[in-house]
């Protein structure tokens, strides 16, 4: 474990990614305790304020403290994105490894169907699912999870097929190990690593998809402090203050960069050849 961490921190991507993601997770866990104001506390006399000592990031069109709203929104935005990615990955991994395990015609059929579904852009698929279920955060979560299943299935299948052909699996078969032992002890640990890497990178897509759905009015609904919704609302008040647009945009970008860097760092750390 310490060896793994040393490998992770050795690359600039891994180190920076860990720092940024750690900071964001801290905001998610402790954010609502340290916020100076409530996320929906309105101060009619302090609207459109630029950053100051009282409001570190300024205030929005209702005089709400932007820092408090960002910290509060971190919980919904980031936790939802991680959950959606996890559910989508799990679904994709089961489908992909199952397909690889079945092999033959069933594998061919499943993978061609997965390819077919991938012809629908994931944003469009998510839009359709949300419009089917209704616009709110929980449905947006499900929509993103569903939109991730096809590509994760494809990746999991190719990883599982490569692992299946490795010598250590053949050796286990030759030793006469049972199927459960081979799948659980030999294959699974080697399948999980690349999938975790892919999943980490996907979290950044999920954050962006989530924000995009909210921006289009199909995700979180006002007065939620979801970051995409904050950007969407800020557009009308740009002539009064650009800070209300800048901060949530920066928060989305920083989160996406953090998970991207962490994913790349993990990939290098888990690759035995580097």
């Amino acid at each position: 474990m310490t060896d793994f961490l040393r490998r992770l921190f050795r690359t600039p991507q891994g180190l920076l990614g860990c720092l940024i993601v750690g900071l964001i997770l801290l905001a998610v866990v402790a954010g609502s305790w340290v916020t100076p104001y409530g996320p929906n506390d309105m101060q009619a006399l302090a609207r459109y304020k630029a950053p100051s000592a009282a409001h570190w990031l300024g205030t929005d069109q209702y005089g709400r403290d932007i820092l408090s709203r960002l910290l509060d929104g971190a919980r919904s935005t980031v936790v939802m994105a991680v959950l959606a990615t996890f559910i989508g990955t799990l679904g994709g991994a089961i489908l992909g490894t199952g397909s690889a395990y079945l092999g033959g015609r069933a594998d061919e059929f499943i993978m061609r169907t997965v390819d077919a579904v991938m012809a629908i852009p994931s944003l469009l698929l998510a839009l359709l699912v949300v419009s089917l279920l209704g616009s709110n955060s929980a449905n947006a979560l499900l929509a993103i999870a569903i939109a991730f299943v096809p590509s994760m299935a494809r990746i999991s299948r190719s990883v599982a097929l490569t692992v299946r052909k490795q010598d250590y699996v053949s050796a286990a078969v030759a030793r006469g190990e049972g199927a459960a032992y081979i799948v659980l002890r030999e294959m699974l640990p080697n399948v999980i690593a690349p999938i975790v890497v892919e999943m980490t990178i996907r979290v950044s897509f999920a954050v962006m998809l989530f924000a995009t759905l909210s921006f289009l009015g199909l995700g979180a609904q006002p007065p939620a402090s979801d970051w995409g919704l904050m950007v969407s609302e800020a557009r009308q008040f740009l002539h009064r203050s650009y800070w209300i647009l800048l901060w949530p945009s920066a928060a989305i970008a920083l989160t996406a960069i953090g998970f991207n860097l962490l994913g790349d760092g993990l990939r290098d750390a888990l690759n035995p050849r580097t």
Binding site: T212, Y242, S249
Partner: protein
């Protein structure tokens, strides 16, 4: 590459379209929207609604409705919009033209930037140029289109007043005016792809430059320039075709957002308003057209790849 490979790929396109059509039809069937109520309004009498349902075939079993719809689509008839009462096909195909103009400009712009960026980063690996390119691409893949679009409009259109903030003029009508309005949307749609493709070109080229045939070319005494351009790039750029084709999926998704923000009357905007108004025939047709575009582009890319790379033998 054999004829049977091409035939197989074409069969795959049809399979893709059948799966997508089933999926879309299923989704639109479950959507809580009554086409008859939408066309006649909330106050229509029960008799009038029933008569229209009968006429539109809404009382038929689902599979019959699907076959009826799919048969129409095969003949180029996408049905009638519930909102406007106009045929869906002609309106959507002209919107598709607009979107494809945007997409084509974005692809060319992206390739013109991403390929040189990738090459420079690979050649100057570990140096300042490489680090700058990877810094830019990390930022690029982390900015969703709606953020880039909003920032671009604020900076370029509102503050500096360099370009119009939104709107669309067909190029055939006013070429320069239309082009001027396309600049920001094209840049916004390409940012994410530039970041992705330049990274791919870099890693492909780095891999290729470590192969034996590149070493052989070097040992033969060729100039580094000649090694790079004649031997390196030829092989490194081939996989880019496939990557770009797969990125068309992102491109089509990005087009939806960008058309919405810049009010461009393309297929993405038609789809967004159809989804909001639950205009089922337009949703069905729009998704089918987008999926067909993706499938056809990937077919062309695969065939081109197989044709260019003689080492790959598909059966």
């Amino acid at each position: 590459m054999s004829a049977s490979y091409i035939l197989k790929r074409i069969a795959l396109i049809f399979y893709t379209l059948v799966v997508v059509s089933l999926l879309v039809f299923a989704i639109t069937q479950i959507l809580p929207a009554d086409a008859a109520v939408m066309m006649l309004g909330e106050n229509a009498t029960a008799d009038a609604l029933e008569a229209l349902r009968q006429q539109m075939g809404l009382n038929d079993p689902i599979w019959l409705q699907y076959l009826h719809w799919a048969g129409g689509v095969l003949q180029g008839d996408f049905g009638t919009s519930l909102r406007t009462g106009q045929p869906v096909g002609p309106a959507l195909f002209s919107a598709l033209g607009t979107s494809l103009t945007l997409a084509a400009f974005a692809l060319v712009f992206m390739l013109l930037l991403a390929i040189p960026m990738g090459i420079i980063a690979a050649v100057r690996r570990g140096k300042f140029a490489d680090l700058s390119v990877s810094f830019i691409s990390y930022i690029g893949v982390s900015l969703p289109e709606f953020v880039t679009a909003t920032l671009a409009v604020v900076l370029v259109a509102d503050w500096w007043k360099l370009l119009p903030p939104a709107g669309y003029v067909p190029l055939t009508q006013d070429f320069w005016g239309g082009l001027e309005r396309l600049i920001l949307p094209v840049i916004v749609v390409s940012v994410m792809m530039i970041a992705h493709v330049s990274r791919m070109v870099r890693s492909e080229l780095v891999d290729v430059m470590h192969t034996d045939y590149i070493r052989a070319a070097r040992l033969k005494g060729l100039t580094p320039r000649r090694v790079l351009f004649r031997h390196g790039l030829r092989n490194a750029l081939l996989p880019t075709i496939t990557i770009v084709a797969l990125d068309v999926g992102y491109l089509l998704g990005g087009v939806i957002v960008v058309e919405e923000i810049f009010s461009i009357p393309g297929i993405g905007r038609s789809l967004m308003s159809a989804i909001q108004a639950r205009d089922l025939p337009v949703i069905q047709a729009g998704v089918m057209i987008m999926a067909t575009t993706y499938a056809v582009v990937n077919f062309i890319a695969d065939v081109t790849y197989a044709w260019l790379d003689k080492r790959i033998q598909y059966d």
